[in-house]
């Protein structure tokens, strides 16, 4: 393993850790449903940017960490995030060339899928769920995507992750 590859891995891991921390950040009650799906967004970015390094496996491990952190059923987020990573890998050649706001549409669909799968598992366990929990995070995630994309792209170029 060359030093540059190693450094790239550290950058990717740091961005994922930051996303996990943002997910745990306490928000006021009214803002809670609008929390963007940080981990999903960062995962989608790395799948689009470096598909040969980040994929289904990384998404699955990340999902497990998210499950442990938020106290959900083990495998709940692992399932949805590995599917999101798979679709992002399938789409990466088509989505990567689009301008950021058009990428937002694909991101919206992916986040909706992620939330819907997760809610489906929650619903099977007999907990009450509401449709807003799908749309609200997807909307805020789509709005944030162009900025997150620019930030992560600059980070990637700065630390030369390829």
């Amino acid at each position: 393993m060359t030093p540059s590859r190693y450094r790239g891995a550290a950058t990717i891991a740091t961005s994922f850790l930051a996303a996990l921390m943002l997910t745990a950040l306490p928000l006021p009650q009214w803002a809670e449903p609008w929390r963007p799906a940080w981990v999903t967004l960062v995962l989608i970015y790395w799948c689009l940017a470096v598909p040969q390094r980040v994929g289904v496996g990384v998404g699955w491990v990340l999902g497990l960490l998210l499950d442990v952190m938020t106290g959900t059923l083990l495998g709940q987020h692992a399932l949805s995030l590995s599917l999101v990573a798979f679709l992002a890998l399938r789409l990466h050649l088509r989505v990567r060339v689009l301008p950021a706001w058009q990428q937002g549409i694909s991101v919206f669909l992916l986040v909706v899928l992620d939330r819907a799968l997760s809610l489906w598992v929650t619903g099977i366990q007999g907990m009450p769920t509401e449709a807003k929990a799908i749309w609200a995070p997807a909307a805020t995630s789509t709005l944030l995507w162009p900025w997150l994309y620019v930030i992560l792209r600059d980070v990637r170029r700065r630390y030369q992750v390829f």
């Binding site: 745990a24 496996g57 497990l64 495998g75």
Partner: protein
């Protein structure tokens, strides 16, 4: 192909985690890995709390002090009476040849400022197996029962609140000894007494306490007051809503309880006095 493997793995994990307890060890290990992240998120809030405490004015501290001294006087007076009652109770139980109740021991834990899954009602606490915390341990605050421990690792534990739809609690109405099961409703601040017949003697304002029948919660801790009773003859059961007595969403410090015979490893550290 890899997707299929990972999806299957997730499904198996979910099934096993939902039905059995085998995965607690794995979860404990992984939660130690994410604990630094949670501590990092908690740190600014803790600092703010510390700052607001250390920057308090002398006057407000003196006011606090006065108020606390008065409260202590009142509580000590009541405690004196309680000790007397407890002694009397023990004497009477001795006369009746029934087993004496032993006092429970408690440990103060701090709620960490970390958001969990928004659909379940859970809290992250800063005490773990190192402090003697065990699975299923009851959690109370000054006003009543809060919940129980569902996941535990050496340094922290996760508690399920009584308002979670997956939580059920054996209770008793103090006025007439009516027994029931209090199930969380999933919405903030609400439980309901399940399967009470339409003619059950439950009234608005009745105090509901733990009955201790499940063997998990000690008996006699307040759970809440009945806030609504709806008897609709078209339904098989009465709809009885209970407002929890504990301040479920506003607490910073909570109490972990050890029942008789479940002594914690060492109570000296952090013990009941801190």
């Amino acid at each position: 192909m890899r997707l299929v493997v990972f999806v299957l793995a997730s499904l198996v994990l979910m099934t096993v985690d939902h039905r059995y307890r085998h995965l607690e060890a794995a979860r404990a290990t992984l939660s130690v890995v994410v604990l630094p992240l949670q501590l990092a998120v908690n740190a600014p809030f803790q600092t703010a709390h510390w700052a607001s405490e250390s920057l308090a004015t002398r006057r407000s501290l003196m006011e606090d002090n006065d108020r606390l001294r008065q409260e202590r006087l009142l509580i000590e007076a009541r405690l004196g009476k309680l000790a007397d009652l407890e002694a009397e109770n023990r004497r009477l139980r001795d006369l009746l040849d029934s087993s004496a109740r032993v006092g429970e021991r408690v440990l103060i834990a701090e709620v960490m400022a970390v958001d969990m899954d928004p659909f379940s009602h859970k809290l992250l606490l800063n005490k773990g197996t190192r402090d003697g915390v065990f699975l299923g341990q009851p959690l109370i605050d000054a006003n009543g029962v809060m919940g129980q421990v569902v996941h535990v690792n050496p340094f922290s534990c996760t508690a399920l609140l009584i308002t979670d739809p997956n939580h059920a609690l054996p209770v008793q109405v103090t006025r007439n000894g009516l027994r029931a099961i209090a199930i969380g409703r999933g919405v903030a601040n609400g439980l309901e007494l399940a399967h009470l017949p339409l003619n059950a003697d439950a009234r608005v304002g009745d105090l509901v306490v733990t009955s201790g029948l499940g063997g998990r919660f000690p008996s006699g801790y307040p759970v809440g007051r009945i806030s609504q009773v709806r008897t609709d003859t078209g339904r098989p059961f009465a709809e009885v809503t209970v407002e929890p007595a504990a301040h479920l969403e506003r607490n910073r410090e909570v109490l972990l309880v050890w029942g008789p015979g479940q002594a914690p490893g060492d109570l000296a550290r952090g013990g009941a006095g801190s």
